[in-house]
Subunit: 530 residues, 2 copies
Amino acid sequence: MEKLLIGGGWQVSDNPGGSFRAEDPATGQPIGPEFPVSGAADVEFALTHAEAAAKDLAAIEPERIAGFLDAFASGIEASAPELAEVAHRETALGVHPRLYDVELPRTVNQLRQAAAAARSRLWSAPTIDTQAGLRARYAPLSKPVVVFGPNNFPFAFNAVSGGDCAAALAAGNPVIAKCHPAHPQTCRQLAKIAQAAVQSAGLPMATIQILYHMPPELGLKLVSDSRVGAVGFTGSRAGGLALKRAADEVGIPVYAEMSSINPVFILSGALAERGAEIASELATSCLAGVGQFCTNPGFVVIPRGGAGDTFVSVARRCFEQAEPGVLLARGVLEGLVRSVDALRTAGARVLCGGHAASGAGYRYSPTLLSVDADHFAEHAAALQQEAFGPVSLFIRTGSDAETESIARALEGNLTGCVYSARDGSDDVLAERLMKQLRPRVGRLLNDRMPTGVAVSAAMNHGGPYPATSHSGFTSVGFPAAIRRFATLECYDHVREAWLPPELRDRNPDGGLQRCIDGVWTTADVAASTP
Amino acid sequence: MEKLLIGGGWQVSDNPGGSFRAEDPATGQPIGPEFPVSGAADVEFALTHAEAAAKDLAAIEPERIAGFLDAFASGIEASAPELAEVAHRETALGVHPRLYDVELPRTVNQLRQAAAAARSRLWSAPTIDTQAGLRARYAPLSKPVVVFGPNNFPFAFNAVSGGDCAAALAAGNPVIAKCHPAHPQTCRQLAKIAQAAVQSAGLPMATIQILYHMPPELGLKLVSDSRVGAVGFTGSRAGGLALKRAADEVGIPVYAEMSSINPVFILSGALAERGAEIASELATSCLAGVGQFCTNPGFVVIPRGGAGDTFVSVARRCFEQAEPGVLLARGVLEGLVRSVDALRTAGARVLCGGHAASGAGYRYSPTLLSVDADHFAEHAAALQQEAFGPVSLFIRTGSDAETESIARALEGNLTGCVYSARDGSDDVLAERLMKQLRPRVGRLLNDRMPTGVAVSAAMNHGGPYPATSHSGFTSVGFPAAIRRFATLECYDHVREAWLPPELRDRNPDGGLQRCIDGVWTTADVAASTP
């Protein structure tokens, strides 16, 4: 049985709730060693050590945390070929380009951006009111953050190496990583690299702890433990809402990034101008990663009539010609079968695919469905259910008013997109649509598919409920993502010597931007006004 | 029956759930006219109009919202004598200095600060990544905010004129104000002034709506209606948690500022140096407003021994000599009787007071209780229950270790304070204590009582659960308080013409501070990079 990284070292699971193995989704066969399903004793052990580590970490200078994040990034780079190989076996995602050339560099870059953010401290937004004698900043929670990783990004959103973990650490909080049980070997490899970096940076040994699997009810117990400061989650709506409900009861914030259908509106001018080009762009975006992205464009609004029909046939040809890719896990296949059945039951017609694909392992044929706008209007809730995988639903509209009414019926999404003609002929409708879409999506796009999520200070990988649990926060992009794992601290006439460095008269490194009396500046505070 | 301000005008309550009148707490007699207890029809009417107003308001330029807030502030100033008089009759708070000279100017100042914050747009924190083509800002919710006002500040925290309402409006959201039923006439007067300002500024007529009272279950229905964007609440823990539970279920954020005992630690050096002075300062802070402040110092830690005993007797003399003030309402008196009984049952000894006071109306004698630290250790939860009113509990400690262990046992509070000697003799303990207090309080003070809450950008009137529902937010101070009522919006390659002014290449007013490629600046974006 594999060991757990808890309490600062690799420990045998105490009283495990059984064991599990990874599966190769390309064959459906178990692979690799046995991993423990943790029981209450493992969770208690991790919490005890995380609580102690949190107090130590909160007092550590940002440079050491940044050093850890950089060392972790370099460690991942140094093991890139092995990591890509093990993740490929567990997820069936391609080594090239996906894992090795795209996701892994993105993960490394994200950790380095987190290091830079920790170093710059801009996330702490030091605010000083010299007249009132008040100084405030965002600070570590002084409690651990529990991170739940999803199945679809074994590196970039992994509970150990992904954005939530990086953001929690950049704020100075330890992490209890609840990995996704679909790729335990990948998690173990990442945890080994993380632990080496923890040691070399001299951070508390329990800065990162890892639990591979646990019964759902134990997960609820974990997130509602008063020693926990906050929870980051990426995954299904049902899972996220269950965790949120448990933690809400005791005032622990859960930042859950859940489901989204990512509506795309293609207007008639754009269709006439470059319909085939957009159809091919759509197919590429829908089928990348076998459609298993949170920003997969699953809901595409297209006018009825000839140009729309041509668009649909081009897209359909792309979908039909694509090989059914291997899905991440058995659960994804089962979910897809259920979701597509539900869309059919709600009145959507299958244009192509619509069934599990033959061949070894877990495969589903690339699938397009279609429904008329007037039918959508009557079944708007059922037809907005996400089908996680290579599935998109076309909504065909007969008028601008109908197109706009679809936007009005949408629930919260991560993204929303409008394709309009370059010659301006769609501008009136485009503007009206964007007014409707804006409060319903986290990221609004023009003329591009939503699947790329850049790690940027101006990114919002978030959106209105139920796409996420809180529309004021993003899970990608520094410094904003760090704010989820921070608390607001005010110092009222506290003596200079007892202030944190960010709030002392002297700028801590000469370059920290602080808001002093309403102005962002790198200046020192003129005179000591406690 | 008085009318409601809903749907943009003064309306007769539809199907009211009965009626109520204010009481003069100095006599216990009903005063003023009958006000409606709203039923579901009023709430539905208000929500329908608020939803429409939200869409309009989100598109209105900040200058008009600022103009409204300034006009509202001036309107309150112009009616100051009448407002102070009516509030005095309903709350028994003194006209001079409390209502007229302190709270009213503070309220006016707060509205003007909100106007300045709306005008400056700094709260929207525009963030531009020119390389990635991404631009983000905080934006109005495009949905109404429901604000629940408390009983203890008829102006500064009133659902119509207080900080939550000002913050929600500054962000560009309409407000449904659920006033506190203890001062309906004050609320009506404020709502009249607000509505005149709404008209003169040309805002949507339903920008502010007011409901005087409703059955608790209807309040839960209101805050869990999907048309609501967020909820601001100031009041009791039970009330706040009930609203939070209902809204959490449907992903609506509730910012509840609830109970706090505001621990004050007085160290032995400070006691020796200036014990009598601090005791008198404490009594003043405890008895101001008849102790009915959320930041009332209700929990005071003092060493055992002679200097501590002297401190206690000075404080006790102040409490005994103070006239029992009139409480805000019958409910406050009933709550106090229950709370002091509970503290006694948990082992606290009454030093003075401890009973309702004779005389007309609702009065409770200024009360001090005391308990030893070792007893506190065994009953820490029961002895941390807030007694809302002129009541404080002394905890007597025999050693530095015992003093520190008390700090470690504290739950979340709004404030925490350490008084230490000016000669440095307390510094070692003071520093250890502040390390313990820091993650347990929103605002940490040195050598001053917590009852003053300045309206400042560096204020935090918030704190860890259960003092509030989320430790990352404050209910006082701009721009931070506005962020509670904002959503994060990202624009991904959206055309310049369709960006909000804050995110266009050109700085909208030449003076807005924006974070462009990591640097806060008032510069324009160099070249158009969508």
